[in-house]
Symmetry: C2
Subunit: 214 residues, 2 copies
């Protein structure tokens, strides 16, 4: 059955981005270190057409994420689509080049109406101006039996968590503290989760939860 999933890399003190987010550095100071575990994997290098990288549990997770096998649609916030670009730019087609890694309908939450942008490889960006419920409805319709993944950023994830719409939460818990920045769970009270999978690697702990709300 179709479910709503989400993957987030998170510091031990709960941040998905570092402090002082800016145009030049949209994930904040130190924020990139939360994603380093991915860049170091063989699976990531293969996606870039490069040799090298480490095999193992982390690489298997990246492989699983990159294969998108069960994901029929994505939802992302406007900031993820164009963070740091300042004013809304009608010519901007996202960060990911002509063939974005989504390969599925991707619904972008925004206040600016815009025609869909079909990209290569199966990704089409749709712009949703009437809120998270509408985006989820459209994503579900597009995904059919497959899953919907909330791609991010943290603010978008939080909105779906608070509304009780996330079925499965995957946290990649990175063993460092940032001290400040953007908290994934800021004011997200009352989640009751069930541990469904723990994958232990030397560098990151991969936690999968089924999500309920009190």
């Amino acid at each position: 059955m179709s479910k709503v999933t989400c993957h987030q890399s998170i510091s031990l003190d709960g941040f998905t981005a570092g402090p002082n987010q800016s145009l030049q550095n949209p994930i904040g100071e130190g924020g990139m270190r939360l994603h380093q575990w991915m860049f170091d994997t063989a699976a990531f290098m293969r996606m870039q057409g490069q040799p090298g990288g480490s095999e193992g549990a982390d690489s298997d997770i990246v492989e699983e994420l990159g294969s998108n096998r069960n994901v029929g649609a994505y939802i992302m916030g406007r900031n993820m689509f164009d963070a740091g670009r300042g004013a809304w730019d009608e010519s901007w087609k996202g960060w990911w080049g002509e063939d974005p890694p989504y390969h599925a309908p991707t619904f972008v939450l925004t206040h600016h109406p815009r025609a869909p942008i079909p990209m290569q490889g199966g990704t089409t960006f749709y712009f949703v101006t009437d809120g998270i419920e509408s985006a989820l409805r459209q994503a579900k319709e597009a995904a059919g039996d497959k899953d919907i993944q909330i791609a991010g950023g943290a603010d978008t994830v939080r909105q779906y968590l608070r509304a009780g719409h996330v079925d499965e939460l995957n946290l990649h818990l990175v063993p460092l503290t940032l001290g400040s920045g953007e908290r994934l769970f800021q004011d997200v009270a009352g989640l009751e989760l069930t541990i469904t999978r723990v994958i232990d690697s030397p560098t990151v702990t991969h936690l999968t939860y089924r999500v309920g709300l009190r």
Copy 2:
């Protein structure tokens, strides 16, 4: 070799106590739920001289904690010793009855000088008025080759983390969010941890880290 350790039960959103801590409820609303996994174990029931409880990974952890085998001294904050008691009370001997579960010298950080209190079973409470460095020095001397455990609360743990004095941090990650309360890692930036053990149970994830500071 002697090391400084610490165990904390923590919510997925980083709280070790819930909101609205008060005289009546020193661990705050919902805070007790962070410790429920312990109360449910067979090891905990045995410590109370009771039958029942669940065997398994959680119980093994409680057994390990309760046996205190490698702990030669404890350090705790004043609030842990007498939280909710209001004014300093010279007759107060802690929450744990005549035979506290520490069975070792236990150094209480306070601003109030007081003579040591020898209890049954090997626990003696010493009151340290000249700060965390002094308490650690005294605890190390008392512990010899054994470990020093920072018993809590979160504020005391934070002080030792910030000062770079904690060698090993054990987090018992409880899959729920409290939304507000006392954050273990409030303003603790720059920790660089190494995952040394992950024990997966259906109810809690037990994470052990070696702690470094950038």
